[in-house]
């Protein structure tokens, strides 16, 4: 089913398939390995690097040996809390405490001064792909993480939005032609390169515009609430 909504995603194979059709090499899988590498590279922070290549995610991790492995694509912690199903460790059950990277969260000017929010420093540290607890957290305890991550799947490959297809296809064609210069002319190669550059710029600007609009709407909501609904606005003004 074709789903061309904002969040519709496609696989890297879909991009490879499109590029192979453009290049008329659809009857061979000789270059598929290389194509996937190029597509992953171009779709991520080494290529497009749009705002949508980084997203907010949530997951559950399990403590083992005083540490827990961070999920694939992890970039920056937003907050962590213990899960409520830690039956064997009732002391950690439903702890009304959110551990945050205070320096990161308050960097934008937000007031994070509440009794239920605690700085993660003193509880755990993040080091080399692991959350390492300072002590007192037994094996098997699960925690929920909210974090910023590269928009990747469980294998670490970039998740590709449908709107990336044209840009990535052009990039794959350009790279393939670059490698097989004797078979393609300079004009065709340059055309694909220009298309890739133009599409990359467009996608970046689209993401920036969407981000701005989202922020703007949130600000407008708060402003409207202040005017029409003082009780609702109270939560923002406390």
């Amino acid at each position: 089913m074709i789903n061309s909504g904002t969040y519709a995603t496609i696989t890297l194979d879909s991009i490879i398939s499109a590029a192979k059709m453009e290049l008329k090499i659809q009857d061979s899988a000789d270059y598929d390995i290389l194509f996937e590498k190029w597509a992953n590279q171009a779709a991520g922070t080494q290529g497009l690097h749009t705002l949508s290549t980084t997203i907010k995610k949530q997951c559950s991790i399990t403590v083992n040996g005083g540490k827990a492995k961070l999920p694939v694509g992890f970039n920056q912690l937003i907050a962590m809390r213990y899960n409520t199903n830690n039956v064997s460790n009732s002391s950690l059950n439903c702890t009304p405490m959110l551990y945050v990277d205070m320096a990161f969260l308050s960097n934008c000017g937000c007031d994070t001064n509440t009794p239920f929010i605690q700085n993660m420093q003193g509880v755990f540290q993040i080091n080399n792909g692991y959350i390492i607890f300072y002590g007192g957290v037994p094996d098997g305890v699960t925690c929920s993480l909210s974090y910023f991550a590269n928009n990747v799947d469980e294998n670490g490959l970039q998740i590709v939005y449908e709107r990336y297809e044209r840009a990535l296809t052009a990039y794959l064609c350009y790279r393939y032609m670059l490698q097989n210069l004797q078979e393609y002319n300079q004009y065709a190669m340059e055309t694909f390169r220009q298309e890739w550059m133009a599409q990359k710029r467009m996608l970046r600007s689209q993401d920036a515009r969407d981000s701005f609009n989202n922020t703007k709407y949130q600000m407008m909501e708060v402003a409207n609430a202040l005017v029409v609904d003082k009780s609702w606005a109270a939560q923002y003004t406390q």
């Binding site: 008329k24 061979s28 899988a29 598929d32 390995i33 290389l34 590498k37 992953n40 294998n155």
Partner: protein, 216 residues
């Protein structure tokens, strides 16, 4: 056309269509010439025709899984007959994948490439993220990486010898060569036969004359 029809057609070529038991060419010899001609013509047509070949050239091969062939747990081996080379970038292997044609396995060209890609985090086949195929031409084996459970595959290729494919029956199935290219094959084989004939020096009067005259 069936193989025997092409053999009959070619065997009449040097004698303007009229043959007898005395001048009839050996059938096996002609089949051997046909295979060489087919390979040569496929290569020429592929390179001239924007890397396209008539699908008649290709044959499907369904290798049988054999426990005795297996040597390691990381890959599965299947027998695969010799395939032709089309140009510097591609050989005659067109499709290696599942029997329902839903997944084409990615190609690994050599053991050196296998070693190289396994050093790269995205391209590596070690994580079983995708299935890949390596054709070992010298051993005539197909090695499938990334899926140690696989027991059925299909290979569509331009095989060097059509007789190597068990599902192809020379008596009933058309020879994997398009009819419209038969004149090219005629020409190729005719040249081969006549060049051999021309290279054999007959006993002529001149040869007799070259001997040293007797003295009386």
């Amino acid at each position: 056309m069936l193989e025997k029809e092409i053999v009959e057609r070619i065997s009449r070529l040097p004698f303007a269509g009229v043959i007898s038991d005395e001048n009839r060419l050996d059938g096996q010899y002609i089949v051997s010439l046909m295979e060489s001609a087919r390979a040569q013509i496929a290569k020429e047509v592929y390179q001239k025709n924007n890397k396209r070949l008539n699908p008649v050239f290709y044959q499907k091969y369904y290798p049988t899984y054999s426990e005795q062939l297996q040597e390691a747990k990381t890959y599965v081996k299947f027998s695969c007959p010799e395939v032709l080379t089309l140009d510097s970038n591609s050989d005659g292997l067109r499709y290696i994948g599942t029997t329902d044609c839903s997944v084409a396995f990615r190609r690994i060209w050599s053991r050196s490439m296998l070693s190289t890609i396994n050093k790269h985090q995205v391209m590596s086949v070690k994580g079983n993220r995708y299935t890949a195929a390596l054709y070992d031409g010298s051993a005539q084996m197909m090695e499938i990486y990334g899926n140690a459970e696989i027991e059925e595959i299909m290979i569509e290729a331009l095989f060097a010898n059509p007789h190597d494919i068990p599902t192809w029956n020379a008596d009933y199935d058309p020879y994997p060569f398009p009819d419209d290219l038969l004149p090219l094959m005629d020409d190729y084989i005719f040249r081969s036969i006549t060049s051999i004939a021309a290279s054999v020096q007959p006993e002529t009067r001149n040869q007799y004359n070259q001997t040293t005259p007797r003295r009386r």
